[in-house]
Homo-oligomer: 495 residues x 2
């Protein structure tokens, strides 16, 4: 079909500009000297304007409109290309350029104000600009359009097809499981010893490189560096870069971040290269991406099996682990303990941090609460869900950067990733009969092939709802996570 070829050509150009933007972003976070900031913002700003323009030009000569009109005549692949492209195009078209610019301007101001407010631990300093941002996001949601809740319009940018109706149901069920589960763990009164010591950074690096290599991260098609905030960026399946952060006193942070980011990277390195430049060559959604990082970090590297292979290697590198048994280590990496900071949370309490944010975001965008109510609500929910009294704004409502950049609708993807990964694990275990042995011998090749066959190779062919059903035969169902958690923590906490 001639139109599809035309569209693909335009999409490839757009992808090249987006990759260039991503290279600038990686460089900024990993390499750029400090004084480069201001000018870099201009270069990135130019590119994001160009991307905006190129997205609108996708419908030049009504190209997209024609394809949408002929949708039923397209084959499955082309349907997915048109569906996903039209979704992005429509969002971009519906949001007036003025609103985009206003949001960009507000975000860069808000970031600086948020950073200072966090330093001072004073939410009140951040409140006025956050109010403006929320107003702009409400306006944006109206422009995009929605069926039930304006929050759905924002959600769609991160997890297409998932709505507040879905999340309300899933998250209610999750809360009903987690809150009593965490209470039981607390009541068990079992205290697990943390990993303590001094862990030279060079040794950490060597270990992490070995692990991600074993996982299947291809160093010929990627890099592994360090940065303040660990992240993954893929310009193309042949150039995918991960970072971690190092602290001599905190061994687990650098290891777990490395495995987490390598989990993201395996997805990006194994996307179908031939379809690169179209939605069929793109990762599915934020939630699915997170399902891959959490699959490796939490599901695999949180299991004893995984460390059967790696713990002896780790002990060789660090003398201070000499007296820590594999079992002690396994327990130490799985301590469940309510805490204030989302990014420090364990796999059990983590989702409650997300649900809290989801509920607040949704209520803000639905105008049921106002920014001035936010701090009180946050602190109430922290007490209700995790039994913690928030001592300072820095440890509470000011901890995350997301709202300053207007990223409302992002948080739920983290919790969805967690649930997807548990559900995927359950299916994988059934299909790969020798699963436990594969993990215990660090023989990850069959795992990677399975993930490629069931997830990576599809790109955006299916929607997230369709893909989870296709992989597991079931719609997204938190029960898989409940089963996983009960099975695992019964031993660790005798519950």
């Amino acid at each position: 079909m001639k139109e599809i070829k035309k569209l693909e050509k335009k999409l490839m150009e757009l992808t090249q500009i987006e990759s260039t933007m991503a290279i600038l972003g990686w460089d900024e976070q990993v390499m750029m000297p400090i004084n480069g900031t201001a000018y870099r913002a201009k270069c990135s700003g130019y590119l994001s304007g160009l991307i905006h323009k190129k997205i609108l030009e996708l419908n030049e000569d009504n190209l997209l409109d024609k394809l949408v009109a002929d949708f039923s005549k397209l084959d499955q692949n082309d349907k997915a290309i048109v569906r996903e492209t039209f979704r992005v195009y429509k969002r971009t078209k519906n949001i007036p350029q003025k609103l985009v610019e206003r949001l960009a301007e507000m975000s860069s101001k808000a970031f600086l104000i948020w950073r200072k407010a966090r330093e001072h631990s004073k939410f009140e300093e951040f409140e006025p600009i956050l109010t403006e941002i929320v107003d702009l996001k409400i306006e944006e949601a109206e422009m995009i359009g929605y069926e039930e809740s304006p929050y759905d319009a924002l959600l769609d940018d991160y997890e297409q097809g998932i709505t507040t109706l879905d999340l309300d149901e899933i998250f209610t069920s999750l809360k009903n499981f987690l809150i009593p589960f965490i209470k039981k763990i607390k009541q068990s009164n079992i205290q697990i010893e943390k990993i303590k010591g001094t862990f030279p950074i060079n040794q950490q690096k060597a270990f992490n490189e070995m692990v991600v290599k074993k996982m299947g991260f291809d160093f010929k098609s990627g890099r592994f560096d360090s940065s303040v905030h660990p992240f993954t960026t893929g310009f193309n399946p042949k150039d995918v870069r991960i970072t971690t952060r190092y602290d001599e006193k905190d061994l687990l942070q650098s290891i777990m971040s490395s495995i987490h980011e390598a989990g993201h990277a395996l997805y990006d390195q194994n996307l179908p290269a031939k379809k690169f430049g179209t939605p069929l060559g793109e990762s599915l959604s934020f939630g699915f991406h997170e399902s891959q990082s959490l699959f490796w970090e939490r599901r695999l590297a949180g299991s004893k099996n995984f460390w059967e292979y790696f713990y002896p290697e780790l002990k060789k590198k660090f003398n201070c682990l000499e007296k820590v048994s594999l079992n002690d280590f396994y327990k130490a990496i799985n301590i469940v303990e309510p805490s204030f900071i989302r990014t420090d949370a364990d796999e059990i309490t983590y989702s409650l941090h997300i649900i809290l944010r989801y509920e607040l975001e949704k209520d803000l965008i639905e105008q049921k609460i106002r920014v001035s109510d936010l701090k009180k609500k946050w602190n109430e929910k922290m007490e209700e869900y995790l039994g913690l009294k928030v001592p300072t704004d820095t440890q509470g409502i000011l901890q995350d950067v997301h709202w300053s950049s207007g990223s409302f609708g992002y948080f739920p993807a983290y919790a969805l990733g967690n649930l997807y990964s548990a559900q995927i694990l359950s299916t994988m275990k059934k299909e790969l009969k020798n699963f436990d042995k594969l993990i215990a011998t660090a023989n990850f090749k069959p795992i990677l092939i399975w993930l490629k066959d069931h997830i990576y190779s599809y790109g955006k062919l299916y929607t997230p709802k369709e893909l989870i059903k296709k992989i597991t035969g079931d719609k997204l169902n938190p029960q898989f996570f409940f089963d996983y958690a009960e099975e695992k923590y019964k031993d660790i906490y005798n519950i």
Copy 2:
């Protein structure tokens, strides 16, 4: 003036795209994983197409034509902006897009063929594609236009305003000096001991960082890495990056490359930031840029004074220098010895390598010789100028990458830089009375201020011919280099 503001806005946008292209280039050479090559070429290709388009758009609504028509009414700054912009615009406009694409295509093919031919040491393998490239460059020169020689059209891209007439005069005089001078050195029969030993790379790095910092390289506005070929790239005065290369067995290479690139970087970091985005914020020419790198590498770091301060520091780092005196070291870094490879050449024989290339390039473009004559001519000239019989094509005509990319007209800038820097040094020494002491104490601040005042701050306000006159009161005159060389080598070689 309204038009100038419009032009400046367009130029800023163009500059941002060029900086982005430069970031991609730096990443490619310093950071990119090997498999990233093919896709990176596409991203860079897209940007270079965009740059081409944006240069042509500089004359949208006849903006440039109008400014050229009103040239006499402009002030000095605006005149320079229009002159330089129009020069670039005209070149771009006159070269048909088809020719640009054909050259780009040929170059990427030629690079691979050249690399293989060099491996096999067989010029014949490279000859056919080089013939095609030369034909295209002849066509390009015709399209650009010229007064005397078609080679002038190519030269102008590297050293605006300099012609074959100028170069013939300068290079003849240079040859007449150098050939007998080198003979005298040879006849002196003095053998200088080279620096030998094993120099741990970490120690080299620490030393090089200390030196470039002392020179004034600002690490907050730059980075210092390693790469296969040392280079400097500046995205903006606040983000200028240098590289060097390391070899445990070759101490001088990494030090001298570091100083050379830092010399380039000081120019880029100290360009007038307020004029950034216009020609007034750009470095003047390839020759002037090279004058700055050679000023530091050859003129300063080739002097005994410079090492009065740094040699004790160097000895602290490397035990194997224990028995090498400052005087021995000074002589060792100034060995004059005809050799086959341009990039390994000393400051005296170097220019003869350039003159040889210049003469061949000019004759090719003027169609006085053909590519099939090239190897014979090269080898004859090597014998005539440097007294060397070229043993293999790899050590001869196949050594440089430049011709494969069609960079005809580039080489002369290296020799011009050498001459400019000697002439500039002579003036600086007169104006800075305590010059020797400044160097011997590594107190480079006054040097840097002088360079800023006399060179960096002007950007492209003057042409190269105007600026050398303005700085030194004289037109480019190789006599300054002759005096410098005679004064210096009289002691080293007793001549």
